[in-house]
Symmetry: C2
Subunit: 189 residues, 2 copies
């Protein structure tokens, strides 16, 4: 009886691929077991349970996304950095819809604190250094940027914009322009 050579890493990686193919919430231990031609129970030697798998996929996706964002930000500032950052998110979501969905999984606080999620927040703040914002406006702006990027991407993925006229690429560019203008001209309270 040959061994399949399962490891948590291989399983999580395959789970991430599965998520992109069939959707993050269709990712199931059963489906994963089928992919490795192995019984479901065997996976429990490597993963605590189904939720553990999902969490690990989320952590993987957050890492990948943070790595891409860091690479894109290198050497850029201001509007340039903002646009590059925005595009990384959007491109990742289009390339890896399942993984992107995974990044939206609610993590418990200590897992979140140990995740690449904090790198995302740091990078967003780094972009804002190109603009002239003091606290607490900087924090408000961090939240605004996160909201716009996440909101736009998830509405776009849900087909919320699909019907009407201007294409979504143009809207995306114009929104980045608008955010740039807004950050350069942040209103006083």
């Amino acid at each position: 009886m040959a061994r399949a050579g399962l490891t948590p890493e291989r399983l999580v990686r395959a789970g991430a691929e599965l998520a992109d193919e069939i959707g993050f919430d269709q990712v199931t231990l059963s489906a994963l077991a089928r992919r490795f031609d192995v019984r479901v129970a065997s996976l429990y030697s490597h993963l605590r349970n189904s939720q553990d798998l999902r969490t690990r996929i989320a952590l993987l996706a957050l890492e990948e996304l943070a790595d891409r964002a860091a690479a894109a930000l290198a050497g850029r500032a201001g509007r340039d950095a903002l646009a590059a950052f925005a595009d990384v998110y959007r491109d990742y979501a289009r390339e890896h819809p399942g993984r992107y969905d995974a990044t939206r999984l609610r993590l418990d606080p200590e897992t979140a604190a140990a995740s690449a999620g904090v790198r995302h927040a740091e990078m967003t703040r780094a972009i804002l250094r190109g603009y002239d914002l003091a606290e607490p406006d900087q924090t408000h702006a961090v939240r605004l940027l996160g909201s716009v990027f996440h909101g736009y991407i998830s509405l776009e993925a849900a087909g919320g914009f699909s019907h009407s006229a201007p294409d979504t690429q143009e809207t995306w560019t114009r929104i980045v322009d608008a955010l740039d203008a807004l950050l350069r001209n942040w209103p006083a309270p």
Copy 2:
């Protein structure tokens, strides 16, 4: 053998309550049947299947939300209308988290076209009449507002902001201010 008096409407309403209590994606025909003290199979006389239930809950939530938004917009314009609209969404999401989640369910195109979703888009556009935006900028702005509101609410619900300093109410107000400023000063391409 007394009849339970089930109807699609009662089931959907109870399903919506269930969603608020246990989360939209925990809403299950089994749980619903338990709530009515009825066998699961009995529900299939009133609902096509599990997905049908979820879709109807989504449609209900979209209606409720559109009704609230319409009431809030009556007699308001400009920043006032924008703030009222934003608050309706946020308050609804806090009051009815399960239903709010349901509004994010992906609907197939014809269902979406027949849903209250179109009222939401119309109202957003109505708000923009208080600002001086021609097409296609108006459409870009509609998309921006939808993205911000949805994105903010879902990040807030996911606990994405919970750790840090300025409270989320203040951020929310400041973001509305910022959007108002941006719309009054929409950058030329």
